[in-house]
Symmetry: C2
Subunit: 174 residues, 2 copies
């Protein structure tokens, strides 16, 4: 049930990495109760691809991509390309990205143009404990493992964690 | 820019953990280029809370929570409670969960009741490279750090990664 702790994108032949892996997994195996005290130890997310966008720095990006429908591309890594089969059946997708330039320790957010602070979970701020971005985009084209989309608010080089088809019946308030 | 690798939910006084931490961070500091070869090394996600649900095992859960509107509760860990301030202004929320009982190595999915296989990113299967669940729920009540919601398809004890308010204008196909 427990996730193995591995540093998957680091070179595996590196002995220091192998040693860290072995120690971490030994610790997980031997030290944690069957269901961990804090319920779950967390997990490692690995990008399935990355964004190429005209937004290079935070100041370029709109508050919400949906409101500034520029085009971006998403390049999926070769090992995940098979997962794209059938995606062209959908014209809207949810893109889950990893805001790798965000702060993770903010629980209060002062929203642009409003005044008072509110809790981070009551906002769509990119600065959040797990900085996972959620954006509904229009799928324009897929060529091989390159998706062309409209409305993505992620910065250039942002890692992509997941792609999900949008379904009107389950994803809309009714 | 790089994430520090830490095993945050493990006991910090444990020397084997400290050693693994130190080795992993040394490796990240010294061995990776400023922007990694594979663009991004991935990152560690840490639950902000967990679900209590009548769905105990996979066979109990509906294909989509929205279509079987049972009530669940989400308990947020004390250190993230401040992030909930202002959340009661919203009646619909996106819940991002971590499907900790899913397989991460499936790229093809045979959908229930359909026949042919398709790529995992063209489905909402819980078995995906980064098994992050996305469910739109109705927020019924917040008492302290316990949220009562309707329509969550996550199993009992599923870790929660993030909560985002639903906004009609950016989250709906128009």
């Amino acid at each position: 049930m427990l996730e193995c702790v591995t540093f998957t994108s680091l070179p595996r032949e590196d002995s220091i990495i192998q040693k860290a892996d072995a120690l971490a997994n030994e610790a997980l195996d031997s030290k944690l109760p069957a269901f961990p005290v804090e319920k779950h130890p967390g997990a490692f997310v690995k990008p399935i691809g990355f964004v190429s966008s005209p937004y290079k720095v935070q100041a370029d990006a709109p508050r919400q991509g949906r409101l500034d429908p520029i085009e971006s591309t998403i390049e999926i890594y070769p090992e995940f390309e098979a997962g794209l089969a059938g995606l062209m059946d959908y014209s809207q997708l949810f893109i889950l990205s990893w805001f790798d330039r965000s702060s993770r320790d903010q629980l209060w957010v002062v929203r642009p143009g409003r005044g008072s602070a509110r809790g981070v979970f009551a906002t769509r701020s990119p600065n959040r404990p797990n900085p996972i971005g959620l954006t509904l985009v229009d799928l324009l084209e897929i060529r091989g493992r390159i998706l062309r989309v409209r409305g993505l608010d992620a910065l250039d080089n942002t890692p992509i964690l997941d792609i999900k088809p949008y379904h009107q019946d389950i994803d809309t308030h009714n």
